[in-house]
Amino acid sequence: MSAPGRPKREFPLGGNGAQRPGGHMSATRRILDAFSQPGGRRPLRLLGASGQLGYGIPTPAFQAGLDRQPDLIGCDMGSIDIGPYYLGSGNMATARESTKRDLRKVLTAARRLDIPLVIGSAGSAGAAPHLQQTLELVREIAREQKLSFRLAWIPGDIPKDVVIEAIRAGGLTGIDGMPELAEADVENCANLVGQMGMTAFRRAFEAGVDVLIAGRACDTAIFSTLPVMLGFPVGLSVHMAKIIECASICCLPGGRDSILATLDDEGFTLESMAPQRRATPISVAAHSLYEQNDPYVIIEPEGRAELHNARYEQVDERRTRVSGATWVEAAEQTIKIEGSTRVGERAVLLCGAADPRFIERHEQILRDVSVVVRDLVCEDAEEDYQLYWRVYGMNGVTDRQPGDAVPAEVFLLIECIAPTTARASEVMRTMKQYLLHFGYEGRLSTGGNLAFAFTPPEVSVGTAYKFGVYHIMRTARMDELFPVTIEEL
């Protein structure tokens, strides 16, 4: 990872980052120092500003959160749920302008309050190009808003040789049945990242920072690292972090508004910063179900939080207090790694049909036409493409069940993935023409089998990717991963 054109220094720095050039103490150093004073310990207030930075941060709730004088602002920016495209392509899922608006909002607020701003999984998927785009926005905002601060960034990329070594040492385990990896699978990844945890964040915080932008990271580490460094119980800190990284999703009704957690040594209290959203014991407990396959465990690189004895108690109509999570340290740290591999170039055909005879026979028709297409486009070329169709109304989303009604209309999404854009487009255009005019048995409508909402109905949609790597990695080179870089802005 490099950020061309900007001066940067590798951690560790002389002076431990205690003082910024203007004589100003960094935000993390300030709070670490304050807590180390006799009598300096007190409950910690953490503001979960956004669970998906770049899709908009509602201002009233965020402002209400700032009015509560938080000790840290955190935002998660990415996820694996959005699929392999973003990780593979290096593109962000969010629009540049809305991402910049959100970043500006949290940056200016954090600098005004002089508290740490922590952002994880930069740029949607947290690989080098995502981190770079996010850092460019941060620098742009700093210039425009005349902000001066100490920025740390941590790439989430995992060097391929580290993974290959881990394969050779038997240190890789597929998650949920992912196949064993060959070395070529690693080499083929367009981008390969690992979810850094509290250990990496801690290195940055110890170096003294105002703003930390992390590549691919555990969403929990954004919020749990500082309290753990300040001596709060790890289990509670991780449990709290897992809830507030999604902002007010844990409330009733759930939403994207900022949420405030107040953490002490026995538990934490949750309060949405939007007045209509209530954190109830049930709504908060239910959040442990969300996108998790086990609601009782939160697995981190450093260990796991266990929630079997978690208690959720109502404080008042809008606040719930949570306690009881425990922490089990891992014997050895592990890293969840994610890699995305280019499959080919994708073109799609968008069309509909409203002829009951066509709809009734569509499976056979599509199979027959795909043979016609193959015979044409492979006359002087390899069969080097994959063809998929999804017939919405029939089985575009799920398999048909016995007794499902036959719809009056269907939508067909036909997809080709080929080595080149030109090849995918050739296959798709041929498919369009022969499907349009295919003379199937029983056909009455000889004008054409398809309805197009517009022409051209075939579109090239860019490169297709797949997850080639989704594994747990043990490595002897853990210390080399996730290096911290400090930059003075």
């Binding site: 239910a286 179900l289 396959n293 086990d294 997809e415």
Partner: protein, 100 residues
């Protein structure tokens, strides 16, 4: 009675790209206990509804939220060529008409 007549939430979502999870939540303990004790929702039912081996079905009781959590493997890794539901958010509706 069908599950959709008694449940507060019936939803699906990925838990990672290889796993679909189904959550069923109830309004109160009585409804939750009634469905649980009725025994209609078990691994055999989920295996049949989702055409997946019974031993791959995981069902976890989560009384704190009056919920049942079900996890099944995805047949296609999220976003792989041929996938139909990258987020896995539309795989829940065949639970609606389960008799409980």
């Amino acid at each position: 009675m069908q599950l959709q007549d008694i449940a507060k939430v019936i939803r699906s979502k990925n838990a990672g790209p290889r796993c679909t999870t189904l959550d069923i939540m109830f309004n109160d303990d009585a409804d939750y206990q009634r469905v649980k004790q009725g025994g209609a929702i078990d691994a055999a039912l989920i295996a049949r509804l989702y055409d997946t081996p019974e031993q791959d079905v995981k069902i976890i009781d989560y009384p704190m939220a009056r919920a049942l959590k079900i996890a099944i493997p995805r047949k296609v890794t999220a976003g792989d060529p041929g996938d139909r539901d990258v987020y896995g958010a539309q795989q829940h509706s065949r639970l609606f008409e389960v008799e409980v």
